[in-house]
């Protein structure tokens, strides 16, 4: 498969499948909006903007994975770690919407499919893993770094498999030399490499933030309360 850029353009998927995914994406986003609204306070609103901007910027860096094959980062895991699953999914969706409208990157009719792969599947898988890993790993910057890395790799591969599924359901052309299994295998292979690159960036970013501003990491929420300071001193 040459097309590893996950921004599916118009005409790759047939009408019904595009429409079904459009509906799936709309319903899921509506749910994310209702959950995300509660999260989006004075701290998270600017963070959500920055996470979206950061994902936007790193998605512009297309880097070669194999000769003739290039891919880009997806950012779902980093979003889930920093702003949580609901706002995280919204951030990635905003990136995809703006890319489709402003940079003609990814077709508007494939927006539902693109949102499903990168914003929904990517963020959901990442957040499940994060929730799991943070239960076993220590809640230290190192633990968080490992979590970010693993979640990124798995989420990227999961997003690529979601694309394979869409192609199997509604690809406008059947392929003969490639069985579905082979396509899935190739996609997984290249996306493990992309995932490793993404995992490194996500890990370093999240670790830097966790070191200086642990209050900003959604995944560490509830660990820190504002300290009470009185004339007598700092209360524990």
């Amino acid at each position: 498969m040459e097309a590893v850029a996950l921004h599916i353009s118009n005409g790759v998927l047939n009408g019904p499948v595009s429409a079904i995914y459009g509906v799936i994406a709309l319903v899921a986003l509506a749910y994310c909006i209702s959950r995300g609204r509660r999260d989006l306070d004075d701290r998270l609103a600017p963070m959500a903007g920055l996470v979206a901007a950061f994902i936007f910027a790193v998605q512009m860096l297309n880097f070669p994975v194999l000769p003739g094959v290039s891919g880009h980062l997806l950012g779902g895991a980093m979003a889930a770690l920093l702003v949580g699953p609901w706002v995280g999914a919204l951030c990635v969706s905003v990136v995809l919407i703006v890319q489709a409208l402003v940079f003609a990157d990814g077709g508007v009719t494939a927006l539902g499919a693109n949102v499903t792969n990168m914003a929904l599947v990517g963020t959901a898988v990442a957040y499940l893993l994060i929730a799991l890993l943070l239960r076993v790993l220590p809640r230290t910057p190192t633990g968080l770094g490992i979590t970010a890395f693993v979640a990124s790799v798995v989420a990227v591969v999961a997003a690529s498999q979601s694309f394979v599924l869409q192609y199997a359901l509604g690809g406008t052309t059947d392929l003969e030399h490639y069985s579905l299994g082979a396509i899935a295998g190739t996609m997984a292979g290249t996306h493990i490499l992309i995932g490793i690159g993404e995992g490194l960036i996500a890990a370093v970013t999240v670790v830097t933030v966790a070191r200086t501003r642990p209050d900003l990491v959604y995944a560490l929420r509830g660990l820190r309360q504002p300290q009470q300071v009185t004339a007598e001193g700092v209360a524990a």
């Binding site: 097309a3 118009n10 600017p46 979206a52 003609a104 970013t205 501003r213």
Partner: protein
């Protein structure tokens, strides 16, 4: 952030953003649902797109260069005739799959037309207006809010990266590449944090001036679309639908 906006003064530029978005999306949907065998419908669309581009004074060369984002899918389109299943036909002296040939054409034509329509929208509408348009199309506020901040933060990221560069070169450092300092990664982390803290202060300053989630631009920008403007913009999807309809009936 400017995006792909081309600063001109044309009827297309003056059209309110919400009608342009609606027209672009509906025209794209019509293109995508057109049966791929209706070859000449695509020729009709191409003429339509060229006409719209001409009204917006969007140069053809610019469109050609910018549509390279579609490249991976073009490669897929050219590969499909050789990879796809089904009967074989001879095309330009090569034995290829008929289904693959159609499939390749399908992706190429629909993909290209879609990209061109998006590019025309991007060339005639500023990013800020696009958000105003989304807001007027009843896009949930949380989405437009994140989008506004995203555009704002792209500028902050750029600004902070520039400041960091000046800080370094003026103290005797000689970077060939911005993030060479302590490896790409630490640079990214530091930039992220710095941009966040700047953006956080900016956000708090906005809140201090009464910001509550909606940019005044959404209601200040010169009036929402009039009926006539909706009608004018509707000509594009309507023309596309006419082409599609004719193609289906005749084909």
């Amino acid at each position: 952030m400017k995006g792909l906006y081309l600063d001109r003064d044309t009827p297309l530029h003056r059209l309110p953003p919400e009608v342009k978005i609606a027209a672009m999306v509906s025209a794209t949907v019509i293109v995508v649902v057109t049966p791929r065998e209706a070859l000449w419908a695509f020729a009709g669309y191409a003429v339509l797109v060229a006409a719209v581009a001409a009204i917006g004074r969007v140069p053809a060369g610019w469109l050609a260069r910018r549509s390279l984002v579609e490249l991976p899918f073009v490669l897929l389109a050219f590969a499909l005739p050789f990879l796809a299943a089904g009967d074989k036909v001879t095309f330009l002296g090569l034995e290829v799959s008929r289904d693959g040939l159609y499939g390749g054409f399908n992706i190429l034509a629909k993909g290209t037309l879609g990209v061109l329509l998006s590019l025309i929208l991007a060339a005639t509408t500023t990013t800020r207006d696009l958000i105003v348009g989304l807001d007027r199309l009843r896009c949930p506020q949380i989405i437009t809010q994140i989008a506004t901040f995203m555009l704002r933060y792209l500028a902050v990221l750029g600004g902070e990266a520039r400041r960091m560069r000046i800080a370094r070169i003026s103290r005797g450092d000689d970077p060939r590449f911005l993030w060479q300092l302590r490896g790409f990664a630490t640079g990214v982390g530091a930039l992220f944090l710095r941009a966040f803290e700047r953006g956080e202060r900016v956000y708090l300053a906005m809140v201090a001036r009464g910001y509550a989630g909606r940019m005044p631009a959404a209601w200040l920008a010169t009036g929402a679309a009039t009926r006539n403007q909706w009608l004018a913009a509707a000509t594009v999807p309507v023309a596309a639908a006419a082409i599609a309809g004719t193609a289906v009936i005749l084909g």
